[in-house]
Every structure is written in C-alpha cells, then in structure tokens.
Amino acid sequence: MSALKAVFMRELQLAARSRADWAQPVFFYILVSLLFPLGVAPNSTALPLFVPAILWMGALLAALLGLERVFRSDFEDGTLEQLFLAPVPVSFLVLGKLLAAWLVLGLPLALLSPLLGLLLGLSMHAAGVVMLGLLLGTLSLFFLGGFSSALLVGLPRAGVLLPVLVLPLVSPILIFGAGAARAAMSGSSAEAPLYFLAAIAVFCICLIPLATATALRNAFE
C-alpha cells in the first residue's frame, strides 16, 4: 500500500511541477468544444443535437493528448526499470500511476465539461449528467488508454498510433456516455447508461493494470 501511495504521490508532484503538461489537454478541450459551433449555421436549431457528441469526442481527443505521455518519460529516464525491481507487483504500481494520471489529466476534463455544456446550451440537469458520465468514462478511458500507451512505449510514432488502438476500445464508453447525455436532454432517465459506465470503469480498474504491467514488461524484454 505504501508503494502504491509513493508512486501516486510522485506522479502528483511531477504534475504540480510541470503545469503545461496538464493545462494543454484542458485548453485543447475548451478550444475544440467552443469552435465546433462556428462550423454550424449561427443560432441553428441543430446545435443542441450535437452537444453530447461534441463534449464526449472533445474529451476523448483531449485525453489522448495526455495519455501519450503517461509512460514515456519514465521509460526514457529509466524509472520504469526501477519499478520492475521493486518488491511489489508491478500491476499495483501501474494502478497508482494510472490513477494519478487520471486525477491530473482526466478529472479536469470531467469537471470542465458542465461549464462547456452550459455554454453550448445544455440545461443544468443535462450538464450534471455529462459531468457524471465523464467522471466515470474518463476513468475507463485512462485505464484503456494507459494500457495502449504501454503497448506503444518506446516507439517513435506512438502519438499517431495511440488513437488507432484506443478509439475502437473505448467506443462503448462513447455510446453510453453520449447516450446518458441525450437521455438527460430529452428528460428521460439517464440511470441505465450511467450504471453501464460505472460497471465498465470498475472492470477496467480491476483488470487493466495486470495487462498494462505485462505490456510494460514486454517492452523491456
């Protein structure tokens, strides 16, 4: 447990010292979401139809920007190799790293989404559902994305390949997340898709660290 905490705190400290790293996806998210209406006719009635898709796709793409870096610097400076020498299971340390990455890179996106939603004309209730969905969805997204970036660690073109690996894997999250937002906008219950998102998140948190640890070990062999 203390090893998990040490890895977790180290990631947070590193993030606190390099603000540009976590600010970049946030600005990307703001820009993408708020430039989208410029592509639609002014005051168009079609815009509200697209709002769940904008907020969700924007968050997915913004998260990909951050995910690419989750293991890279640790791989380059040899920290990952040290983690493998630690007397605790690597999957445990990976869990700490991914949770910290989500806290630094994913959580801001989720917290920002209701504000963007209100700017795009969502109701208070729908904006809340979007945030709740993104809280759960980004969690799974960071675990699946962390796994994919572990597969690509050390490759020169990792940034281009990452979306090819991650986006098909996260399509159910997009469906349930945007579905929850649409349900909330139309006034029906958004509970079912949110429960699905929660189930996927729990599933990812339990199993993905094991696969990620194996992927990282493979990169060293």
Partner: protein, 239 residues
C-alpha cells in the same frame, strides 16, 4: 504419452512447420469441393427467397464471412493467451498470421452487407447495431495489424499484439451490447436459433457447406502464412 508428444509438436517450430505443410495442403484440397458445392448450391440450386428474391443469395458469402470474422478474432485471442502464458513462438506466429486474414473477412462481410443493404434497405450503410459492431471489429483488427508492423522486434511485436487481442476480445461483447442498446435494425439471426432454424434446409445446407469451405480456406492460408512467418523469423533454415 502420445498426447504429450502431440502437444510438444505444436510448440516446436520445425515440427510445426512440417505439420503446417501437410495441414495446409489438406485444408486447401478440401476447401475446393466445399467452396464449389457451396457456390453452386447457394447461387443456383437453392430456391429464391419469397420476400427478397434472388438478392438474398449474397448471404452465402456474407454470413460465412461475418462468422469467420468473429471466429478468427477469438482464435487470435486464444493463440495470444497461449503465446503469453507458455511463451510459445509458434502461437505468436499464428496470432500475427491470422490478423490480416481476419481483417479481410471482416471487410468482406462489411462490403457484401453494404451491397445487400442497398436494394433491401435502400441504403448502403445504416448505423445499425450489428453493422457498427462489425465495423468496430474491423478497427480492432487494424489496431493489431498496425501494432505488429510498428514494433521492430518480431517477438515483442507478437506479444504486444497478443495482449491487445485479448483486451479487444473481452471488449467485443461489450461493444456488441452497447451498440445493440444504442440502435438496432438488422434482421434477427435465422440460423443460430437451435432446434428449428427459420431457414429451409435447401437454403441452409449450402450455407453451412460454404462456412466449412471458408474455414478450410482460412486453414490453408493460415498455415502458409505461419510457415512464412517462421521462415522470415529465421526459426526454420531453408534447407
């Protein structure tokens, strides 16, 4: 003891190479009459559908291709599991050799489905549950192929692909049920209902024969590709 020696033959590259030589030949040989009968039976002998007329005959390509797309991905996940757990090179080759074939079958299923959809549904593409999950499956295949090609070391590439295939395999049912929840228009399955398929035997038999033909054709191509992979890795010396 014989089982053990047989199992060992599945792990040694030279023995597997020789086995693949024979298996590939036989798979190729039996695929010819199966595919021929399936094509003739499906395209000429089977009666036209009472609603869809002659247009339904594309299922003799479409349905086996769609089945193969799922079967091959499952096979890849199984081969990936074997390769990761017991570190067997042969099964790494099976995994990487199967991926492009599976992607081709998936693409074939999608294209034939689109060609059928135009006259029947009036459009090439709808965002229907099964079409969408088949498309996501194609993307999952592409992910495996791209990953394999981007890692220089063949073993590391195959093991990374194995992990991705397993995670993708777990994801496939989630994708399937999520898109089903999202939207569905596709006609219900008419063969997999056990007991009494809603298809007449005169239509069903060529379909099943065609599927066996696809399977043995796949077996033939897979064996030859595994042999190539073993050769290019230098596991077999070209004597």
């Amino acid at each position: 003891m014989t089982l053990w020696t047989w199992l060992k033959s599945l792990t040694s590259p030279p023995i597997f190479f020789a086995l693949a030589q024979r298996l590939g030949f036989w798979f190729g040989l039996i695929s010819i009459p199966l595919l021929a009968y399936g094509l003739i039976g499906g395209l000429l002998l089977a009666p036209p559908d009472y609603q869809q007329g002659e247009g339904y005959r594309i299922i003799y390509i479409h349905v086996p291709a769609a089945w193969m797309s799922l079967f091959i991905y499952s096979l890849m996940a199984a081969a990936g599991g074997i390769a990761l757990i017991w570190r067997i090179k042969v099964w790494e080759c099976v995994l990487t050799a199967a991926a492009p074939i599976g992607a081709s079958f998936t693409a074939l299923a999608l294209v034939t489905g689109m060609l059928w959809g135009k006259p029947m549904w009036g459009t090439y593409w709808v965002w229907d549950a099964r079409l969408t999950s088949e498309l996501v499956l194609l993307f999952l295949y592409v992910g495996v192929i791209v990953l394999q090609q981007s890692i220089a070391d063949a073993r590391a590439a195959a093991r990374a692909c194995a992990l991705l295939a397993i995670v993708g395999f777990v994801n496939v049912p989630i994708v399937h049920y999520s898109v089903e929840w999202w939207n569905t228009l596709h006609q219900g399955p008419s063969v997999t209902k056990f007991g009494k398929p809603t298809m007449d035997a005169s239509m069903l038999v060529p379909l099943l024969v065609m599927t066996l033909g696809f399977m043995s054709f796949f077996g033939h191509v897979l064996m030859r590709r595994v042999q190539n992979e073993l050769l290019s890795r230098g596991e077999i010396s070209r004597g």
